[in-house]
């Protein structure tokens, strides 16, 4: 079996689609992960690898430097949230467009007259002022000095009004329950900063934190692009008219499927391992200058435990669909699956069994990661199980195909051809 596996690896390695896959993986790594971690260079102020320094007067520091010494974080601070979110709503109202992020994608929302009127009413209720009054105040007065109406001082009634506004504008506007929290900002305390620093340097040994971010980004690649390689690789027998020559040979269906499946997995993990090596080298070269110790295997461990199950599931499902239908159906199916997983727009904290890709878009938050590691483990095990089921089913399907019991393509290709013909005719008309 190892011999066949090597032959399949060689063939895959020479294919154009595999080279394109490597290029996409490298491009994604460079534009997403690499550009994100650039700021972690210890020469930059605020680098997570530099020990935080204690500042006595944080507000004075903020005024002088326009930033907090240890950075800032979001928190539900009603005074800030009411003031800042209302200002944003007023400005969006004046501009005539509202930002929303349905399925994680940016959308510019324009409201009709009736809904615009409703937003005006909400603004007036929150501020206790008419729109003309607000316009004058916006031009002349610091918005923070506006005295909000008594109803809005009750934070729960303010949130209800904002929920109403969110319903009018649409899913995931700036005023949704989750997004409102972003208007509240407070400085990170020295103690908090020290804990984060110690977690990253001592507990995560730097690379574990970075590896989570690496897997967060590379998971997006692994959730979609492998299906193109799988489709091309599995369909090559039909494309090259080799089905009968291969099917009539002595090799068992299990051996053939397992060799091809493992070749796909290993070969598609090769660029990931190479980039994991590059990332380790980057972190090691920085940490050596700072005399910090790192976990040399973190990127590899995370790649196997975090990314490989995604790749295994995508490959198994793609292989099954391509083998069964011999059409490109696996590609749109995978696109829908990928989109439904990524469009939830949650960067940290969603690890239910429907999540094909695990998101954890930060090098920090070790405590959060540790608290959900069991859920992540269950999620990854679920996808390994899915892969195993589809691989076994693929073996069964190939067995049937080899004795001519099923030939989906031959049976239904005429319908595809008819559809294509009709489509072309309608285009030419």
């Amino acid at each position: 079996m190892f011999n066949l596996f090597l032959k399949e690896c060689t063939q895959l390695g020479k294919s154009l689609i595999y080279i394109v896959f490597i290029c996409i993986t490298i491009a994604f790594y460079t534009t997403q992960y690499f550009s994100d971690i650039k700021g972690n260079d210890p020469r930059n102020s605020g680098s997570p690898l530099i020990k935080p320094s204690y500042v006595q007067d944080v507000e004075k520091y903020n005024k002088e430097n326009d930033m907090y010494p240890c950075g800032s974080t979001n928190e539900e601070i009603p005074e800030q949230i009411i003031s800042k979110s209302t200002l944003m709503m007023y400005e969006e109202h004046m501009k005539g467009t509202y930002s929303a992020y349905p399925h994680g994608l940016f959308k510019n929302v324009k409201l009709d007259k009736e809904n615009t009127k409703k937003i005006e009413e909400i603004l007036c209720k929150i501020t206790g002022k008419s729109l003309i009054e607000l316009e004058k105040l916006h031009k002349n007065v610091n918005w923070n000095e506006i005295h909000f109406s008594s109803s809005s001082k009750d934070y729960s009634s303010f949130k209800k009004l904002m929920e109403k506004a969110n319903n009018i504008i649409g899913e995931q506007s700036n005023y949704s329950k989750e997004n409102l929290r972003r208007f509240g900002v407070r400085p990170i305390t020295y103690e908090e900063a020290m804990k984060t620093y110690k977690d990253l340097i001592e507990k995560d040994k730097i690379t574990n934190g970075f590896a989570r971010l690496f897997c967060d980004y590379m998971g997006i690649v692994m959730g979609l692009f492998p299906v193109f390689v799988v489709f091309s690789f599995i369909r090559k027998d039909r494309k090259s008219n080799m089905k009968q020559v291969i099917y009539s040979r002595r090799v068992s269906s299990a051996k053939l499927i397992l060799s091809r499946y493992s070749a796909l997995i290993i070969m598609m993990m090769v660029p990931i391992f190479l980039l994991a090596g590059v990332s380790t080298f980057q972190v090691v070269s920085i940490s050596e200058k700072l005399n910090l110790t790192v976990d040399y295997f973190a990127f590899f461990k995370y790649s196997i435990g975090w990314l490989m199950p995604t790749l295994m599931a995508v490959t198994a499902v793609g292989m099954f669909l391509t083998l069964l239908t011999e059409t490109a159906i696996a590609i749109p199916v995978q696109m829908i699956w990928w989109y439904s997983s990524i469009s939830k727009g949650v960067l940290i904290g969603n690890y239910d069994l429907s999540q094909l890709m695990i998101r954890f878009n930060t090098i920090y938050d070790r405590d959060e990661f540790v608290s959900i590691i069991y859920n992540i483990f269950l999620n990854r095990m679920f996808f390994i199980l899915i892969s195993a089921i589809f691989v076994v089913t693929s073996i069964y399907i190939l067995n049937l195909k080899r004795i001519g019991r099923i030939d989906f393509y031959d049976k239904y290709s005429k319908y595809f051809t008819n559809f294509k013909g009709k489509f072309k005719n309608s285009l030419s008309k």
Binding site: N3, L4, K7, Q11, K14, K236, S240, N241, M242, Q244, V245, I246, Y247, S248, R249, R250, V251, S252, L256, R402, I403, G404, R405
Partner: protein
């Protein structure tokens, strides 16, 4: 070493492709004749374990056709439209197919050059498959089919589209292989069968309408083949009355070869039948082809 086929039938969506075929094939070359769509490829694919039968029994060298795993060790198959991944070289293609046939590495290293030499492709072992001519590809096809030294070699329409020189080379190769194997050659080219096969079967509309030796087939047309010289005006009338199996222009006249139970005309001369005459007689003439 024998293939036994008893009451074999195959249906596709209710339509019969093979009807109650009974046949025994012994060692040596066996030719399967029949027009396009007669059921030759269906029978070949069933024997190559690529298609399941609807009913009947088949055993190959004593092994039931349902035991595909065991049978695939014994069978070498060259399909009608043989092809290999175009980006592989001749040697790489052989090596890959050798792995799929579970030929050990050391044996592959020994056997592949020998086979390539046998099919006259050794000089092209590094050439990509996409660069091979049609004839070279078929020769590669035969080499891959015998790579694991099968007892049964099934060759489906191997000479279609080959030039005469390549066709003769291919026939000779098959004859050589048939010395210690069962070689089943399916074709609609009668010349291939006549030159190579001792035993033949004729399939028509899914039924086996003849099985026997070439001589037995020829004898079917004994006393029924005539040569007549006619002028072109008479040709149309004769065509409607008799099965015409050959035509040669002789100045203003045409010498035609007809099959008839009675003397077709006074100037007709009886001829020695050839396999083509008998085949045409069996399948009912050119109009049915």
């Amino acid at each position: 070493m024998q293939i036994n086929i008893n009451n074999l039938s195959k249906k596709f969506s209710g339509k019969s492709a093979l009807k109650d075929v009974n046949l025994t094939i012994d060692q040596g070359m066996f030719g399967l004749l029949g027009r396009n769509g007669a059921g030759k490829t269906t029978l070949m694919r069933i024997l190559a374990t690529l298609l399941n039968k609807s009913s009947g029994e088949i055993s190959i060298c004593g092994i039931d056709i349902l035991k595909t795993k065991e049978l695939r060790k014994l069978i070498g198959y060259l399909p009608q439209d043989f092809s290999v991944y175009p980006n592989l070289s001749v040697y790489e293609a052989m090596d890959y197919l050798g792995v799929l046939s579970e030929v050990p590495s050391s044996e592959r290293k020994k056997v592949i050059p020998e086979l390539l030499k046998k099919v006259n492709l050794l000089d092209c072992k590094k050439v990509k498959v996409r660069a091979l001519s049609g004839g070279m590809k078929r020769r590669l096809g035969i080499a891959q089919a015998i790579l694991h030294n099968p007892k049964v070699l099934i060759v489906d329409e191997p000479t279609a589209g080959l030039d005469p020189k390549e066709r003769i080379r291919f026939r000779n190769l098959l004859c050589e292989l048939a010395k210690d194997k069962i070689v089943i050659l399916s074709t609609h080219i009668i010349g291939d069968i006549e030159a190579t096969c001792k035993n033949i079967g004729i399939l028509d509309n899914g039924s086996l309408i003849f099985k026997g030796t070439v001589q037995e087939l020829k004898s079917k047309a004994e006393g029924k083949v005539f040569s007549i010289n006619v002028n072109p005006d008479e040709l149309e009338r004769i065509k409607q009355q008799y099965i015409i199996t050959g035509m040669i222009m002789l100045g203003d006249n045409i010498s035609i070869r007809v099959i008839s139970d009675v003397l077709p005309s006074d100037n007709a001369q009886i001829c020695e039948p050839n396999i083509e005459d008998s085949y045409m007689l069996m399948i009912g003439g050119i109009d049915n082809v």
